[in-house]
Assembly symmetry: C3
Homo-oligomer: 681 residues x 3
């Protein structure tokens, strides 16, 4: 449990009373928060300039008053540290806080998330701010969690970062010779003879926009370094808080599959993962589900916080559609169903001016509660109060793990060839979606995640195989596991150096194949997947595209062959018996029809079943606690849908009814069904 | 009348004899000008480097000779001040004249319209140039008008501009506290504690290309400031001229709906508006008409100058098509029909080299008069001579005003949300076009324009409502006027701060509605407009798209409802009785079919009729002078068209015939029909 | 012959053993090279940092060993000078080697082809490197040719380049007055009064990305200057080598129709032309053929080197498809058929890391010879050994010359108007392709090429007519030649100044026409070509698009007229009798159907016949040596094709069979047929 002082699904969000001068507004806020069942407010996210109007003055009275006023009204605080945007005076006085951008330009004051992570000034004053806040509020009963900075991201390429990068390299590699070797600098005569010759890889040196690099090794390491540099900034604040407050959880809000940061590494330093969920109207529902599962996976299944979502509308999308009636509630429960222990909004009251004034809020510009958005918000608030603590800290169980690795993703993006259309996250999502469509629970896992608890592990496009990982996969399969990987896997080590001797490198014996060549064609150009399984679960007509490995079986069973082109008849899907388990290889990117049948095939083999057979567009997820199962059934359709519980009797948590047999769920509705859990948790 | 020394529609254009060394060319120019009926030449537009070869030397002999040579041949001068491109020596010696661009880069010498408007050097030498020219030519009988600089535009972001911006802010707001409040800088912690902390908003700070801003307040003010800075440059030259020449009109050439400058503010400082008209082959004819009406509206109906158009071909369009036979003449009269008192070209003779050598000219590279272009030019020249002074200073009368406001446009562009597809000018043009298709005369008016002379005022997307404007609109409607506005109106004040308490803010009581939410969808996604008026003028099947206000009537009559989506049945068109008049609200962007019927409806209510019922593609406009009406009928079609004058007898100014009844007009032809005017002018 | 020590078609490619530490790899390389029939290795292309680890140390032991090891195994060396990428230490110590890019940014160390060509440091050390290498290897029997730097290209805009540009201008024009006149700087007041006022034309001054210029004269001269500056760098190395080695051929590898450099000027300084051929899977085969012919044309028919091609796959294309089975062999012989005396690859062994690790190689990452790619490579190697010296130095004969001129191309690209869709290379290729489809041999010639040996000369879009060239064309036609040119020809001189008095300027009397106007429409908008030749070879239904000259015959016969638009009935194709020959003008860009018939027409008139009538997709080219003809028949189709040799008996060089009559060639196969040559060589 994040904090026992509020033993329920927290409900609230970002709140910026400092933007309002009239105390009557603050009073009205509190009145409406109560109407809406709000019990947590995130404060102080962007108040640095207010808190510290100059180098030596600090001013927290407004914050004292706000925290107290809310607390007196039963509303707790998620306390941010205000360091996500430095004050203008700091940029003026200490330009080292300003970043140099990808294009090599020293930036000026503006926007947010704008500080150089290796700026001495930024590090000094952000740490000091965390220290001052922790010292002041460490014992305040309202403060349930610390929220360091906000949505970390963005890289800097200034000289102080370059110097820090050299130091980071020294720590990682020890010698310059080792760096030269790791980056293969004899290529194009890039050998470095002195540390000072290494410069940051950006548009002035080794890179071009869109993850184009002329030297993958340095570009890959710079991403690691930048992720670490920003993590250092977080850690400085974390440690400063911990000096004063040894217990309260500390987090920072992440952003799903955000590119810049290695969240699996970050998550180790977070007491609880929190994240901001902003799907578009046309975002596939399963993509959001995957993001939730990924956020849950960052800390191996520990419940997370939904730190931000919009009550209705975004402002920075191209077409900021309203969330249709019921959708905010539906998506809130989707988060909870997949592991969230909070439902929080950006924002509680809309700003009157500046960039986010057209971002939705619980309290809109009209300023009263008689709006559709407010009413829907209040309904959820009441329901969460009704649910009390029964879902808090409940876990999600899965027998399928899907591997996701940021370093692998960076390396794939940076690769020059074979295809610009290769999108790692899209490939991962294709596999995720195939399980999702059948309501089979999945964990998203990193490459240091425990494999032994899964029956099936899927690692799409496992291009980079880190030290020891091939052995762990072999052990997993040898012990009976089913492993699935794809084209463009096993090619390189952690330094993006090719594992010589034949693709897929370290995975070759596990998979029982050799990939001789990799064809790349325009994604519109498809090949056929021809299976021999004319009556089984893989008997359909399928296509594939994108990349086409030309593989030879070295012991693997050929499940399907290419149906066209000069490699017609070569294997496209293979299955290798390895110890007690099986290792599958998909040599091209199959269509969804194949993946659905494929998932059916491997799940049937392992006896993994759907949580509930429901129609298309009906999502099912389960949380488990104290021997009880909480089954979330969510109808994303615009029409009613019916599912069949069979003879099992479950309690509808909202209505209190005990039901069984055929159940109809309305469009956009969600039900939570509780029964005795029969699993092994 | 611009200048009584040439009491006719002026005919001529830009002329650059200084690009030619051979006097024989100059003689040939004059010979051909006479053949073409040309009586005005714009001189000295880009001759700064020639006039002032170094800091202390001035050389105007060539200009003396040119003006005199032309004058002796009956050709007057529109005298430019040559300050639209600084000399290379100046850029070398005084780099402060060079701009810093949007990307933060100090520019080098090149192109044109390239001077920093706050450069001390530029201001000093441009003012001095105006002074020297005025001193020299103030009494020259050839000079009919002054033409300051050329096509002002483009912004600068250098340090001297930043400093000037701070001063501009001090003048506008008085205190830094007021600035912080106007920009709502507590958002994202942007509070400024010292003026020096404010930097120019560009790609290094608060903006991104395409009018994307992270802080609307500063971006909006920077546009005002830049428009003012360039206007200051104009004003410096204006004042320098006025010191010597108290009478001759002074102008600078504008560019229609050009984004950068607030032309309504500029027009106050121009004695006569002039502008450059460069439609593409596929530019809607009504868009050009709107531009002319807008230019006429800048000075409340005062006739304007068509300063530039091409005789045939452009050079900087993607595909520089020829003007088809007759089109140059047709478009010239379109300008006159809508208020132009001059027809002028860029250019009289084509350059032999550099960027515009493929821009059309009266005298082409072939160098003689035996070209289609020259012959068409000469035909118009003769006609304008024939028309003599009868059209000069004639006015256009309209009972419909359409509001156009640059600051509103900037604010809409800068808004983060709700839709990137919202295009203010396109929305205004949709309404304009609906009147245009019915040949109903319209005035384009600014937000400080007099409303009392109109029966109908349409203000599409009146997002920003400036101080006092809502009251003026209420007064207009209370006194019987019909007011029309749309979705995304009434939201903010002049500082882009939201008017709280419910959209459309200050317009809410006038319109009798409350807009609770604003949905934004991809423009391809359409809703239906369902009216109850099954037999009336609004009985069609209509659609709408783009934005969809979810409105509630607070007294307004619901004229039409949405036909789809979750807001099916909510009002989409309302009409509110307010005093003696009516205020309409269109909650989404309707299709053209609806707008046509809508215009018919409101014009019928006010008894406003078409100037002439003519077929599609036949444009009609009227000018009025001394109790006479001059009706321009222009056939933009590629085929003949027939219209019916009824029993009224009119004189065809070109043929001299007096006609009535059915009249056939040839493809691309124009007729001007004179009769006694029955109006109230 | 390039070098008599290896009297056969050389076979090999780029080889980088310095990237491998294990001598066992080197031994294996040699073993496999022998298996593949490889006899030449290009060494030392990117080894500068290895050769010169600091300012005063040079280290060539590795190179000695490599050359010797290869030579002992029968493999010769193409010795590169390693100067295509400066070492990191040099960039750090002497930043003058770093370029300033088009956007005005001083670059940092990174990528390759990255040195400022006017950098004193670069020039000093690159010359010194060439000197040291030549001194060391001048007598080494393994070295067959010198390979200076690599793929020269890219421009710099730094201050030292600006200064050198001024000097270059002084040399070209003598006086600043002459520069002002050549650039027509009175336009937009750009007159220069001091050399120092001239700055480099880039995105900070006169240009925008995509060859957009605001001042064509300076932009055109800067391209000439940059081409010359890079050529100076080449020449410095050339001369340094020549000081030590007076005999061995020297080259640098070119890149087909690469934009940056005037290859006709460069070729004069190359002893033998070499080039790198990297078509995509969808590159028209005839485009590659044209490139080969162009490379052959650079030195007036002298055989060239195919310096680089990939054995199978690229890495930097969007979709790096494999070369289908047989295609590498087919394309290798296409090069030989069109004049190549070498078949060489990038690369012999794939890198283990960095940018090109997914670029194909003879030895793939798997490291052994049991791959499709290796086997196909070895097959070609054996064949080339079998062919021995019989094709070496054989020539290609053509009676048709197609003009290609880089300066003309630059001027067209830079032109503001009339159409952004005008693509010089695409227009040239359209004409080339029409001959190619009929297997009519063509020479690609520069504007100083000898015309007298051709029956037909085609100069598509000959926009720029250099001094004396019109006279030479007139002489060619007067003597009986057929000349063909098109719209947008004859407009300007070498300074991009318009030739006044009527288009097509200096070509007007030769062509017997006057082009009064040039219409430009969106390329989708087509006109019709209507011929009077209802029964002849030009009797089809044809269209044209892009640009439409409105021409008047001044003596030329009108062969076809426009069928639409207001210029319907005006000439679109004319033929002018001039002396004993004929000059054709195509006033618009015709479709391929027209061009095919047109080529048939003019070739029939001149008695020029197809080398061999073969079906679509079957390319035929001929080389001639010592009175023997070598006819290459290449089937690019995916299916068999049959052609008819008639009664002529020819020897199939691969099979040794003597054949005649109908012959079937397999998909992707090539045959070389030898017989007695009856021509005049």
């Amino acid at each position: 449990m994040i904090n026992e002082n509020l033993p329920k699904i927290w409900y609230g969000g970002d709140y910026n009373p400092e933007q309002w001068e009239d105390p009557a507004v603050w009073e009205d806020d509190v009145r409406m928060f109560k109407l809406a069942g709000i019990d947590i407010a995130t404060l102080n996210v962007f108040s640095w300039a207010l808190n510290q109007p100059n180098e030596n003055t600090y001013n927290f009275e407004w914050l004292d008053e706000t925290i107290n006023r809310l607390y007196e009204n039963g509303i707790y605080t998620c306390l941010a540290t205000s360091t996500a945007a430095h004050p203008a005076w700091m940029a003026k006085k200490y330009p080292d806080v300003l970043r140099v951008d990808f294009y090599g330009r020293k930036r000026k004051f503006g926007a947010r998330h704008n500080s150089c992570p290796n700026s001495p000034t930024y590090r000094k004053y952000s740490e000091r701010m965390a220290h001052k806040l922790a010292e002041r509020y460490k014992d305040h009963p309202a403060v349930l969690i610390w929220h360091v900075s906000n949505e970390y991201g963005g890289y800097c390429y200034c000289e102080q970062c370059e110097e820090a990068f050299r130091e980071w390299l020294r720590n990682r590699y020890g010698t310059l010779e080792a760096v030269n070797k790791a980056w293969n600098t004899r290529f194009w005569g890039h050998t470095f003879y002195d540390w000072s010759e290494i410069v940051a890889p950006n548009d002035l040196s080794e890179e071009r926009p869109g993850d184009v690099s002329f030297f993958q090794g340095i570009s890959l390491d710079y991403r690691r370094f930048m992720s670490d540099s920003l993590l250092d900034c977080y850690q400085l604040e974390y440690d400063a808080i911990r000096k004063h407050d040894s217990e309260t959880a500390i987090t920072t809000n992440l952003m799903g599959t955000f590119l810049d940061l290695d969240y699996f590494k970050w998550a180790k330093q977070l007491d609880v993962v929190s994240w901001d969920n902003y799907p578009r109207i046309d975002t596939p529902i399963s993509r959001t589900a995957m993001n939730h599962d990924l956020m849950r996976g960052l800390k191996s299944g520990q419940p997370f916080m939904l730190m931000e979502q919009t009550p209705s509308q975004q402002n920075w999308q191209a077409y900021n559609s309203l969330k249709r009636p019921g959708v905010m509630r539906l998506w809130s429960y989707q988060a909870v169903a997949r592991g969230a222990d909070t439902v929080m909004f950006f924002q509680l009251r809309r700003s009157v001016g500046a960039t986010e004034k057209y971002h939705g809020a619980v309290i809109e510009h009209v300023g009263h509660e008689h709006t559709r958005v407010f009413q829907e918000t209040a309904k959820v608030g009441k329901e969460l109060q009704q649910l009390a603590d029964q879902l808090v800290d409940a876990r999600v169980e899965a027998k399928v793990g899907i591997v996701f690795d940021w370093e692998n993703r960076w390396a794939i993006n940076l690769s020059s060839g074979p295809s610009v259309a290769l999108d790692y996250v899209a490939e991962v999502h294709k596999y995720y979606d195939a399980f999702y469509q059948q309501n089979i629970q999945v964990d998203m896992i990193g490459v240091d995640g425990d494999l032994s608890k899964y029956d099936i592990v899927v690692a799409p496009v496992l291009y980079m195989v880190k030290e020891g990982y091939a052995n762990r996969l072999e052990e997993f399969v040898a012990n009976g596991g089913t492993f699935v990987t794809t084209f463009f896997s096993g090619l390189v080590n952690e330094n993006d150096l090719v594992t010589l001797g034949g693709y897929p490198g370290e995975l070759r014996s596990l998979l029982g194949i050799w990939a001789e060549e990799i064809d790349a064609l325009h994604p519109d150009k498809k090949n056929k997947i021809v299976t021999n399984d004319s009556t089984g679960s893989l008997s359909g007509e399928y296509t594939c595209n994108l990349l086409f490995d030309l593989i030879h079986s070295e012991g693997a069973e050929v499940i399907a062959e290419y149906g066209e082109d000069f490699y017609q008849g070569m294997p496209v899907v293979t299955k290798n018996q390895y110890g007690s388990g099986q290792a599958w290889y998909l040599a091209s990117s199959p269509d969804q029809a194949f993946l659905n049948d494929f998932v059916t095939t491997i799940c049937e083999e392992k006896g993994i079943r759907s949580l509930l057979k429901a129609g298309p567009g009906v999502e099912v997820s389960e949380r488990v606690k104290n021997g009880k199962s909480y089954l979330f059934v969510m109808n994303h359709n615009d029409h009613d849908s019916t599912f069949d519980l069979g003879e099992e009797r479950k309690e509808n948590l909202f209505s209190g009814d005990v039901i069984s047999g055929k159940v109809t769920i309305e469009a956009k509705d969600v039900v939570i069904l509780r029964n005795e859990h029969l699993g092994d948790l």
